[in-house]
């Protein structure tokens, strides 16, 4: 049985048990290791990817051959876990493996648990006498635990009025997990509310995948970040994992004052604002119509001139929601769009893998002569590669944190 300890080395665990119970997994040092991960938002899923190679002659940490026979692992029935000593960086299903004639190694690819949601639809049994098997019988009013409103209208599986986003997510996800033979995620954290309420309908037989349903909900109002931890617990944080934009929780200030606060590479590109006027469109309320709202911000238009952008927000039928989404988009687009690539060697930063979790925030205070970066940044995504010497470099995609108002701008044509 492999020993898990804080040895500051990278290990891969393999198991047919998604919980990686002690004694149920084997461990080895991977070759050609690279991986990436990202936080879930309204515009990106939270799926991380990993790829590594295994030589046919390699042995695991219990001195047994890793490649123990034909199909010793299989996609979607075997699971990987990447850890740095006793800190799990990511885990999830193996999604493919590959080898070729004459090769003395195989390559393995995996994805994090969130990937499973992109393979799940809300259950639906189309046999006439079973059509209603998976509907919530009654309409939900507000945050009540059991729907007490009118019977759910024909053709819908679920309907809610002014219900908290997280409770809606919990309702849809728990019914999807009821389908049987699913991987069971711990959704106990979805019993807490975020305070953002919306009206919501889900059609019977809707073939949307769960990841897109979650992304849709994550974009309502101030929205939320979401991810699934290595131990299959569904997490969310509203509006962001780092807290709110006015007082973000900072993991580390990168200012060059010490070795661990000095990045290996840092750059800055300013692409200017995306737009100073935004048209948002939603769905139609009647045949041949479409909901639309346009907002602009005069002070920005005075400086940058009027620059237009338009966004299709999809199935939005509520004017208040559409206005909210349009103004939120405008407040984002008004800001100069900065690209700040950051490269870090994690071995130089204490507690790197337990602190620098996806979606958390860092602060960068660096003078690059033509520009001084002096702002908080969300760790939106990262990619990491390990070289032959076992050294890892991490490249971050950062999203500058602006203290935005969601009521930005005024209506204009």
């Amino acid at each position: 049985m492999p020993t898990v300890s804080a040895d500051n080395l990278y290990h891969i665990d393999h198991s047919s048990d998604p919980t990686f119970a002690p004694g149920n997994f084997l461990s080895f040092k991977p070759e050609e290791l690279s991986w990436s991960d990202k936080i879930g938002t309204s515009t990106q899923d939270a799926v991380g990817d990993i790829a590594y190679a295994i030589s046919f002659s390699s042995i695991d940490e219990d001195n047994h051959p890793i490649v123990s026979g034909h199909d010793f692992i299989g996609p979607m029935r075997s699971y990987f876990r990447l850890r740095y000593g006793n800190i799990v960086i990511m885990a999830g299903p193996i999604v493919s493996h590959h080898t070729g004639l004459g090769d003395d190694y195989m390559t393995v690819a995996g994805k994090t648990w969130e990937y499973v949601l992109s393979r799940w639809q809300y259950p639906f049994d189309p046999r006439p006498d079973h059509v209603n098997d998976n509907i919530y019988p009654n309409h939900f009013d507000g945050n009540e635990i059991i729907g007490s409103g009118q019977p759910t209208p024909t053709g819908l599986a679920y309907e809610a009025y002014q219900r908290d986003l997280i409770l809606i997510l919990s309702d849809i996800l728990s019914e999807s997990m009821n389908a049987g033979n699913r991987i069971i995620f711990d959704i106990s954290l979805l019993a807490t509310t975020c305070g953002i309420k919306t009206n919501f309908q889900f059609s019977l037989g809707d073939t949307s995948y769960m990841d897109s349903v979650i992304q849709g909900l994550a974009g309502v109002g101030n929205g939320f970040n979401w991810w699934i931890s290595h131990d299959m617990k569904f997490y969310w944080a509203s509006p962001y994992r780092f807290g709110n934009t006015g007082s973000p929780t900072i993991v580390l200030v990168i200012d060059g004052s010490t070795d661990e606060k000095t990045p290996d590479a840092l750059a800055f590109t300013n692409n200017g604002p995306t737009a100073t006027h935004v048209l948002g469109t939603g769905a139609g309320l009647a045949a041949q119509t479409q909901l639309g709202r346009a907002y602009g911000y005069l002070p920005a238009q005075t400086t940058y001139t009027r620059l237009d952008a338009s966004y299709d927000f999809g199935d939005v039928r509520n004017p208040v929601q559409l206005v909210n989404k349009t103004q939120k988009q405008l407040s984002h687009d008004l800001q100069p769009q900065h690209e700040i690539p950051l490269t870090i060697d994690p071995s130089r930063v204490s507690g790197f893998w337990s602190n620098w979790r996806k979606g958390r925030a860092i602060y960068i205070d660096y003078d690059l002569t033509s520009h001084r970066i002096d702002s908080p940044q969300q760790l939106l995504a990262y990619s990491a590669t390990m070289d032959e010497g076992g050294q890892v470099q991490v490249d971050f995609t950062l999203d500058q944190i602006y203290d935005l108002a969601v009521n930005a701008g005024t209506p204009e044509g």
Binding site: I87, V88, S238, N355
Partner: protein, 88 residues
Amino acid sequence: MPLIPNIGPDGPNQQGFIVPNITPGDSVRVNYVDANTPNSVTTPTANERGPFGDSNTLAIITSIPTGEIEFSVPTGSWGPFDDDDGII
């Protein structure tokens, strides 16, 4: 210990309440008004709302500009407490 009324749960824009008799550096316990029962003040249960919701967690007053207060929160974010550090 003073209470800041009306913090959450309706999103992050909850700064800017006049609270008498506090000065920068003071600690405050943050309670919130339950959206379902206006005019009530509820003490959140532990971990119910992260650093705000944990009734043992304090917000620290950082400054009091005219007419409003600003406070900082030690750790975490809105929503359940972010304890996902990967350590096993």
